[in-house]
Amino acid sequence: MGRDAGRLSLFLLFTPFVLWIGLLIVLPQIGIGYVSLREKIGINEFSFGLKNYADFFNEPIYRNTLLRTAWISILVTALALVIGFPVAYYIAKIAKERSRAALFLMCLIPLWVSDLVRAYGWIVLLRETGVISTVLLRLGIISTPIEMLYNDVTVIIGLVYTVILFMIVPLVSTLQGMDDALLEAGYNLGGSRFTVFRRIIVPYAMPGIVAGCIITFMLTAGSYLTPVLLGGKNSSWFTEQIYNQFITRYNWEAGATFGVLLLLFTSLVVWAGLMLTGQSLATTVAKD
């Protein structure tokens, strides 16, 4: 009886997890992979092959959009790290125990409103007749209204704002575990601020940095609303291409192909990033 009950409770505990992974992640991915290998011949006629993938590589628009998306995502990740690290360090090491929770909460608050509302917030601020342009005009700093929306810089600002929290949280939790004695020892042994930062803080924070970078990169490359709303006439984004294939062109086969390629390509970028920095998942994210 005791053993059976134990086995049953184990089974019951695992069921939600298995269902979640199986039904919401594994099955849809298999479905997408299957659709991406389907070639459309005529109405409701299909054969199997790699034509959709060939089409992707033969059309420079799609290749360039994917590369552009990856390039901007890497830039956003780097910016999020540069801006997020000091914030995380302040929260984890410099701030007093009591204000720590409040500071952390302040970082979380923007996440309580949806992506859409945050994007519209930026639109209200940055448009030609928006808050910033109007204020500058009133103060006499500029003479004609300026348009700050609809370009890549706006997209990058919007994306950094959206994802930076996912950089700060893992960094704070890693840095909080660091013993201050390590820093003191570093200074005692004659290290400058920079040396201590480079040889002690960064290596210690590496699991947080890697985890944060992977999360922010994946989120950015897969984001849809922010680039579409803030981007304007010249900003192609790869998820927008996927949407267009599925919805505007009814071309599920190409859309699925793009989906698979985005997953493979972003995984490749993450792997390359780990290789280039000499890290591996086992020594960083999965470290005890």
Binding site: L8, G232, N244
Partner: protein, 356 residues
């Protein structure tokens, strides 16, 4: 242990049964503003056993949603008249209408015949008209008094002050502006592609003139009312709404003819509340309800005296925009043959990706 499981299963079964015994639900898949709260409440008061659930969408998403579910999940959809035929032949997502259950005689005969001609497959009619309107351009006549056609959207003198939606409508409009008749080229893929290539080149050139592509009615209204944009491609209904707030901004039917669409009533194949759907169709056709509907949509209903049933401000806007010769000159969207949207999709992507 098993008794607990059995009890749980029993409880679930009862919960499921209780769920299905609830009132009938009418699930509408329609356009933003096509189901105003006032009208939904009135309908639910008249038919207390029907609950109305509304999902807002657009032509492309309606087809994609219904295709994904094989036509289930909704009981009444409202695609435009040119989007029914191809979607039905290719994806089989709709079911034929029982015209005897609809007060067809209350609708404008010309529109009914037009929609029937477009949506009859194997002798079965799939759609009846609901609201109709046009696409054209709107201008702030104080700043752009001479605008009269699609081509003016790319006029260098309006640099940075024009806008359009990067969808198929603008491809067709620019086709007309370049002297083509796109609808007559629908059956000749090679000729249509040639036109698309010209239009693509023109619109890529045009990118340096326009400020941005608008994506929805609210977006467009903000651009026009703030004065950031003075000339834009538009739906007439959006222009009529803006006219109420700023009478300098008027809808202009392009000289080559405004492009006319008719949004229809069409039953999804897996709909489970056909009777409720027919009740809704007949309900919104009643003159007093047409008035509420048109006040919300800003478009004309497919009933003979539709203009009189518009609220005053909208009627003024329609009268300021359309003259008899514009009505004569309307170009109704023709049925899109399968495959055409893929060609247009590539053209749209080229335009979006071109840097200029």
């Amino acid at each position: 242990m098993t008794s607990i499981l059995r009890a749980l299963l029993g409880g679930t079964a009862i919960a499921l049964l209780a769920g299905s015994a609830n009132a009938e639900t009418l699930r509408l898949l329609t356009w933003g503003s096509y189901a105003p709260d006032e009208l939904v409440q009135k309908f639910e008061e008249e038919y207390p056993d029907i609950d109305v659930e509304v999902t807002f969408s657009n032509n492309e998403e309606m087809i994609a949603k219904l295709r994904a579910t094989g036509g289930t999940g909704f009981d009444l959809a409202q695609p435009s008249h040119d989007r029914v035929y191809a979607a039905q032949t290719e994806y089989n997502i709709y079911k034929p209408l029982d015209l005897s259950k609809i007060d067809v005689d209350k609708m404008t005969p010309k529109l009914v015949e037009g929609v029937k001609a477009n949506t009859t497959i194997d002798g079965e009619v799939y759609s009846v008209p609901h609201q109709w309107g046009t696409s054209g351009i709107m201008a702030n006549i104080k700043e752009a008094p001479d605008a009269k056609g699609w081509g003016d959207l790319c006029d260098p003198k309006y640099k940075g002050r024009t806008s359009m939606r990067l969808r198929r409508t603008i491809l067709l409009g620019m086709g007309y502006a370049l002297g083509y008749d796109p609808f007559s080229l629908y059956d000749d893929k090679a000729a249509y592609q040639e036109m698309l290539d010209k239009v693509t080149a023109k619109l890529i050139d045009c990118k340096q003139i326009i400020k941005t592509y608008w994506t929805g009615g609210d977006d467009l209204s903000a651009l026009m009312l703030s004065g950031e944009v003075i000339l834009s491609e538009t739906w007439d209904s959006t222009a009529f709404k803006i006219y109420a707030e700023n009478p300098d901004i008027v809808f202009i039917p392009p000289e080559t003819g405004a492009l006319a669409w008719i949004d229809t009533f069409t039953l999804p194949r897996g709909g489970q509340a056909d009777d409720a759907a027919y009740k809704w169709i007949n309900f919104v056709l009643r003159p007093e309800n047409v008035k509420i509907m048109s006040a919300s949509t800003g478009s004309l209903a497919a009933v003979p005296n539709a203009v009189e049933l518009l609220p005053d401000d909208k009627r003024a806007a329609v009268e300021a925009a359309f003259h008899d010769r514009d009505i004569e000159n309307l170009k109704f969207f023709a049925n899109i043959p399968p495959g055409l949207e893929d060609m247009e999709g590539i053209a749209l992507e080229r335009i979006k990706a071109a840097s200029n």
